[in-house]
């Protein structure tokens, strides 16, 4: 089944490209500390709103242009005409790979001793932090929340929906009332109300878990409803009846007979609904209720970009790059989900 899926996916260039892109992005998130030239919270107040540095190739090395602050009030930087080279696989700030292995090798570092010479691939923000670095570290949060959130949702949706559909009757009735109840409140309103209840200030790690739980608590309702419909139709199929006659336990019937028949649906639904979690986290962080400083997440970075208003008035367009990152991720998930659906069942309505 799995091999067949991959083979089919290979035949759809767009879907396969989306898969490759996503794998690359997740790899970048995992190896963020290796790819990033600076620590995510390192400030350099002399380099506020530094534009993306120009790169050029000469003598077999990559050179980075040096900029001068021509007009500090307007945040205008101009190239000074000088440049410094980049060193590959150089040692920089220490970190722990996978959170375990201590290391200090980075993909690239400026090969100068002058700390004022910094490389900003995507410019810098208000306090001179490297946007590229923060984008990579933000990807850890923004990308993983989708995966974890969707796993919780799918498990809950399967348990509630599957049980409701299988048992029917009173269980079904009350489960569906609960689902309707959750779906009757506009999603973001409920999200905000839940968020307000749970202590205002958490540490980043706790906040992360909190956001995942809140998003999953709201998200499972829709999934449960569809799974209920599917398991309702599976319940009367001969193989389920046979299993019942043989006296198999309910749990076993659910996991061994009903679940395998739902996997393809679950896979497609999961792929297509991961964007909702990424967007949900971004929206919460954007509103200042999610991930807090100095941690980075894409929504938080966008909200800072918006708060400054300098983005609008002075045109620091590079501060909007997290929005582009969200856009690319979401579009990749949508394309992949559509391709998977076409493979699994072209008539499936999602």
């Amino acid at each position: 089944m799995r091999q067949h899926l991959l083979l089919e996916l290979l035949r759809r260039p767009l879907g396969f490209a989306a898969l490759v892109l996503l794998v690359l992005m997740y790899l970048a998130a995992i190896f963020a500390s290796f790819l990033a030239p600076y620590p995510p919270a390192e400030q350099s107040l002399d380099h506020a709103f530094h534009p993306p540095t120009g790169l050029y190739w000469e003598d077999g090395r990559v050179w980075v242009r040096i900029y001068e602050n021509a007009d500090p009030a307007a945040g205008r930087w101009v190239p000074s005409g000088e440049a410094f080279p980049l060193a590959w696989f150089a040692s920089g700030y220490p970190y722990r790979l996978f959170g375990l292995i201590p290391a200090d090798t980075h993909l690239f570092q400026p090969a100068t001793d002058d700390p004022a010479h910094r490389v900003y691939l995507l410019g810098s923000d208000t306090t001179g932090r490297d946007v590229f670095t923060r984008l990579l570290y933000g990807a850890r949060i923004s990308l993983s929340i989708g995966l974890i959130g969707i796993s919780i949702t799918m498990v809950m949706g399967f348990l509630v929906g599957g049980l409701a559909g299988y048992f029917g009757g009173r269980v079904d009735f009350w489960a569906m009332r609960l689902v309707e109840f959750l779906m009757a409140i506009p999603g973001l309103y409920l999200l905000l109300a839940l968020r307000a209840t749970l202590a205002p200030n958490f540490e980043s790690a706790q906040m992360y878990i909190l956001i995942v739980i809140i998003l999953a608590a709201i998200g499972w309702a829709g999934t449960a409803r569809i799974i209920r419909g599917l398991s309702l139709s599976l319940r009367n199929r001969p193989f389920v009846m046979a299993a019942e006659c043989m006296g198999q336990s309910t749990l076993k019937i659910l996991t061994k007979h009903i679940l395998p028949n739902l996997t393809s649906y679950l896979l497609v639904a999961a792929t297509l609904s991961i964007p909702a979690y990424i967007l949900g986290e971004a929206a919460l962080s954007f509103l200042g209720l999610g991930i807090q400083e100095p941690s980075a997440s894409w929504g938080l970075m966008l909200s800072q970009a918006q708060e400054d208003m300098k983005v609008f008035m002075l045109g620091f367009w590079w501060l909007l790059s997290p929005g582009a990152a969200i856009f690319v991720t979401v579009i990749a998930f949508n394309v992949l989900g559509d391709a998977l659906r076409d493979i699994v069942d072209p008539r499936m309505k999602l």
Binding site: P186, Y189, F312
Partner: protein, 341 residues
Amino acid sequence: MLSFIIRRCLTAVPLLLAIALLVFLLMYLAPGDFLTAARADRDTPRELVAQLEREFGLDEPWYVQYALWLGNLWPIGWNENAAHWWNRFEIDMDLGFSWSYKVPVVDLLATRIPATLLLSFTSIVFAWSIAIPLGVLAAIHKDSLFDRISALLAYAALSIPEFFLAVLAVFFAARSGWFPTGGLTSIEYEFLSPVGKFLDIAYHLILPTVVLGASMIAGMMRIMRANFLDYLRAEFVNTARAKGLPEGVVMFKHVLRNAINPLITAFGFAFSSLLSGALLVENIMNYPGLGQLVYDALLKQDQFVVMASVMMGALMLMLGNLLADLLLAWSDPRIRLESAA
């Protein structure tokens, strides 16, 4: 039809009560309340705080507070002092008092809900008026260059987060200076003629409408295209063509009328995401609607405002779904509402 509407309204009541209870509990469990700032303020006398606590029933257990709130909500009052007995009934809905705005919540909602409804309405009209023709064109010219480009654009529009689009729109407005960067009215609004007022609001509505409508267009266009294609292959279309009906009549009278149904059903769902999207867009574009209100109120723990706003959001959602069902029945006479309930 009427019995259907009544039944739907009746089933909505317990749901609304449950939502109110949930939001109430959430607000109750949240640390602090709307008097926290007053308590921390040294200039506010203790007695005043204590008196306010008593007045708002904050010293009571939560179920008493909830009952008090519900009791005040009951809209039909009895006024002993009225001149005639038929005047003694009075309609007065007390949703509480907004601590941060210092006005009754009802007054606050009365200005905010129309603004949000207006924005939702213009966005839906905008989305439909673009999505339907585009979807039809894409279906008629299936696999053409236009079809491919519109599919690509639909993907892009589906994937761009609303709040990012809103930020981009503000960016665009600020850079180009063609559009206002926020608000619903200009400063000189009060001095404008009625026509000028209308134009002023319309001018301010353009960007929020486009931002909010853009993501809907994509979804609706895809639904429209898929349905149109389904019905294009139907037998009755062959029959219509065989009868020698002009192609325009076949397309619009036979195919479009059938294909449009799911769009109307999607209206209910669209309304739900519209309210959530409006919350973000309103906050970014500084649009004085319900979403901005609920966000502010949550930050300030303005309990009654939050409860009323969430309730109103849920109510609007339910009414939207009801409206969608009624519209569907009106557009498609085959649908029987009684069985649909």
